[in-house]
């Protein structure tokens, strides 16, 4: 029987969700529900849904994360930035690039961490710009450390 939206909500509406366990207990059909939760009115639940989307393989995972990456609430974009590191599809790079340019420092911080795990020419260029140009000292340092992981 397909999982319902209420069941997904119940799994995520806990203080400390066990994401790996939840991810193994649901199938790709969960992404429709996660998209609904990302668009819902509860930022906490939306951020949990966004994060779970990155842990469940499926063709619609990127769509959920695109919604999350465009969310008005930074906490949801942060969850998206963290979740993208789990995706293994090319579309993720454009999302990371968008989040690296986010106005919110927390979103950029998570995007830098995700970029470090997904080396590419586009991300390298953006990180190099951040290394010298980001207004936050800790992000300039984090961008530099991420570039080291890219190698020569």
């Amino acid at each position: 029987m397909p999982i319902t939206l209420d069941e997904v909500r119940r799994m995520l509406d806990v203080d400390e969700p066990d994401y790996p366990r939840i991810a193994t207990s649901v199938g790709p059909e969960v992404h429709a529900h996660l998209a609904a939760l990302v668009e819902g009115s509860d930022p906490m639940l939306a951020s949990k849904a966004a994060y779970l989307a990155g842990l469940v393989s499926g063709p619609n995972a990127v769509q959920v994360l695109e919604k999350a990456a465009s969310h008005v609430e930074p906490r949801v974009r942060i969850a998206a930035a963290a979740a993208i590191s789990r995706l293994a599809v090319p579309a993720a790079e454009s999302l990371v690039l968008r989040l690296l340019a986010d106005k919110d420092v927390g979103v950029r911080k998570l995007a830098v961490a995700t970029a470090a795990a997904k080396p590419s020419a586009g991300l390298r260029s953006r990180l190099e710009a951040m290394k010298t140009g980001d207004p936050e000292h800790h992000l300039r340092r984090a961008a530099g450390e991420a570039l080291l992981k890219f190698g020569p």
């Binding site: 509406d13 806990v14 203080d15 790996p20 906490m44 906490r75 998570l110 936050e136 800790h138």
Partner: protein
């Protein structure tokens, strides 16, 4: 069982008496004499002895208490309005010793253990003030408030318990008592103000913890400007496992004692949790996210005190989400209370 008649014990006393006993069939009575000295008469088990002149120049009735066999401590207000102390140490009278202060009544005294003394008196502000001997030194004066008239009385029925009585300005008898309460002291480090006000979280936590007889004390609140840690990586949030970011965050421990819990209010955790109680050894801590519920604070501190999740939405430690708690305030069961009280972070205060 019957009352005796009145026995005339003589003397010419102008205030008091007061009485203490350091053992069965032993009585020590003290009173102010016409010469403003403190006088002593005692029953030694076979006969009344005294009167004995213990000197001093006292005002108001003295107070006397014994913390154990062959020990008596007497207190009186001197003509200089300071508190004075004289004591029998088992072989001789010692003092008078001035304990300072400016008191406007005679003292009351109690002892709840060997080598422990608690003395009370009215201050110039009509509050009741308290000074105590902890076995090695005298404390300063502690303001216990109230608006009292006359000399307060104090007694202890056992360890860690004192009951004080005083006449109020309304001529009612007023009662104030002290006892040790298992207490968890939490310190708040605020990086982001949570959606549910911190005071609401504290009140909710206190509601639950009080049902277990545990007091929650807020030791301090500090704002931290740490943008790099406001969305903190907590990894899998497993007890005993912490990330570099958690370790860095939890190093901010201004005012946090060794047995206190530091709670860090952050914007979010990565992954997204309402809170996370994983902390490094020796640094009891938890993070609480902006979107936490009113119960998350008590829930996370519960983890810090050693509690695990349960599958019951009537209980604080539900693993099904504190947002889904039914029948609030949620419960703590006896085994959980025992664990919390046994925690070194729960201290009798």
């Amino acid at each position: 069982m019957t009352w005796s008649g009145w026995e005339d014990l003589g003397g010419v006393i102008t205030d008091g008496p007061t009485v203490a006993s350091w053992g069965a069939n032993r009585l020590d009575c003290f009173a102010k004499g016409q010469d403003n000295h403190m006088w002593h008469r005692w029953w030694d088990g076979g006969a009344w002895r005294g009167w004995e002149d213990l000197g001093g120049i006292i005002d108001d009735p003295p107070a006397a208490v014994s913390w154990g066999p062959n020990r008596i401590d007497c207190f009186a207000r001197g003509m200089d309005n300071a508190l004075w102390h004289k004591w029998w140490d088992g072989s001789a009278w010692r003092g008078w010793e001035s304990l300072g202060g400016v008191i406007t009544s005679g003292p009351g005294a109690a002892s709840w253990a060997a080598n422990r003394l608690d003395v009370f008196a009215k201050g110039q502000d009509n509050h009741m003030w308290h000074k105590w001997w902890n076995g090695s030194q005298w404390s300063g004066w502690e303001d216990l408030g109230g608006v009292i008239d006359g000399t307060p009385a104090a007694v202890s029925w056992g360890p860690d318990r004192i009951d004080c009585f005083a006449r109020g300005m309304d001529n009612s008898m007023w009662h104030k008592w002290w006892w040790l309460v298992p207490t968890v002291t939490v310190h708040f480090k605020v990086l982001t103000t949570p959606t549910v006000p911190i005071n609401t979280m504290v009140d909710s936590m206190r509601d639950v913890y009080a049902s277990a007889g545990i007091n929650v004390r807020v030791g301090s609140t500090e704002t931290l400007n740490l943008p790099a840690l406001n969305d903190v990586d907590v990894g899998a949030c497993l007890m005993g496992q912490t990330t570099a970011e958690q370790n860095t965050l939890f190093a901010n421990r201004n005012n946090v004692g060794m047995n206190d819990v530091a709670v860090y209010f952050v914007r979010s955790t990565v992954p997204p949790f309402n809170g996370c109680a994983a902390h490094p050894a020796g640094r009891p801590s938890a993070v609480v996210a902006q979107g936490a519920t009113r119960w998350t604070l008590g829930h996370e501190v519960g983890h810090v005190l050693g509690l695990a999740h349960v599958n019951n939405n009537d209980r604080l430690m539900t693993g099904n989400g504190t947002a889904n708690i039914t029948n609030p305030p949620p419960d703590l069961v006896a085994t959980e209370v025992a664990t919390m009280v046994a925690s070194p972070l729960t201290v009798d205060v």
